[in-house]
Symmetry: C2
Subunit: 122 residues, 2 copies
């Protein structure tokens, strides 16, 4: 089983925001056990989710974990992500597609906020 | 020196999203050394930043760390936050107002994403 991460952000008209997601993908590739990590965007930027998933499959992934880069996605985003997962699963029945929880759900986020506050001065 | 955290989210038309910030504020209050933690919103929800700051001061804060609840705030949000900080500092010269970095700047965010991916299945 070769697992890929498909990182998904909303997408922005600001190139810097989209580049940030690409940078996060690069860091995930370097700092975690996941050798295949691809960025993708719901809208306004490329690649979109199917194109990002295709890049994962081209590298031999047999499982793709879709990781939302959202603190707290709204209902429409959650629906879009679920639908994208179902579409991918239908088109690639030999591959397992999962959707992970958004960052706001992680209990350690509280500690990160506190650490930023402690460091915080600007 | 009595330090308060003023948590700041964008604000949403979805009550659930705004309630989530209130919940994060409550968790920060319970799990960290900060006894004064107030939520506030840039727009679309109450309290706004000055009202949230006033609640911190009413509890005796002599330093307020403004903590953006944003992964990667756009330029306009960053400007709004900086301006809000300056306005507060001008109106309350006896209080120190700081602005902390957004969550996207925290190096541990990468590990949190990987942990969500490992847990991730939906």
């Amino acid at each position: 089983m070769k697992t890929a991460l498909l990182l998904i952000a909303h997408g922005s008209r600001r190139a810097a925001a989209n580049d940030e997601l690409r940078h996060v993908a690069e860091q995930l590739r370097q700092q975690t056990e996941y050798a295949i990590v691809e960025p993708s965007f719901l809208e306004l930027a490329e690649p979109d989710i199917p194109a990002g998933a295709a890049r994962c499959l081209a590298q031999g992934a047999t499982r793709v974990v879709m990781v939302p880069y959202f603190l707290s996605p709204g209902r429409h985003v959650v629906q879009d992500l679920s639908r994208a997962r179902e579409d991918l699963a239908r088109r690639h029945p030999e591959v397992e597609f999962r959707l992970s929880e958004p960052l706001g759900a992680h209990p350690k986020l509280i500690e990160l906020l506190a650490e930023l506050a402690r460091a915080g001065s600007r």
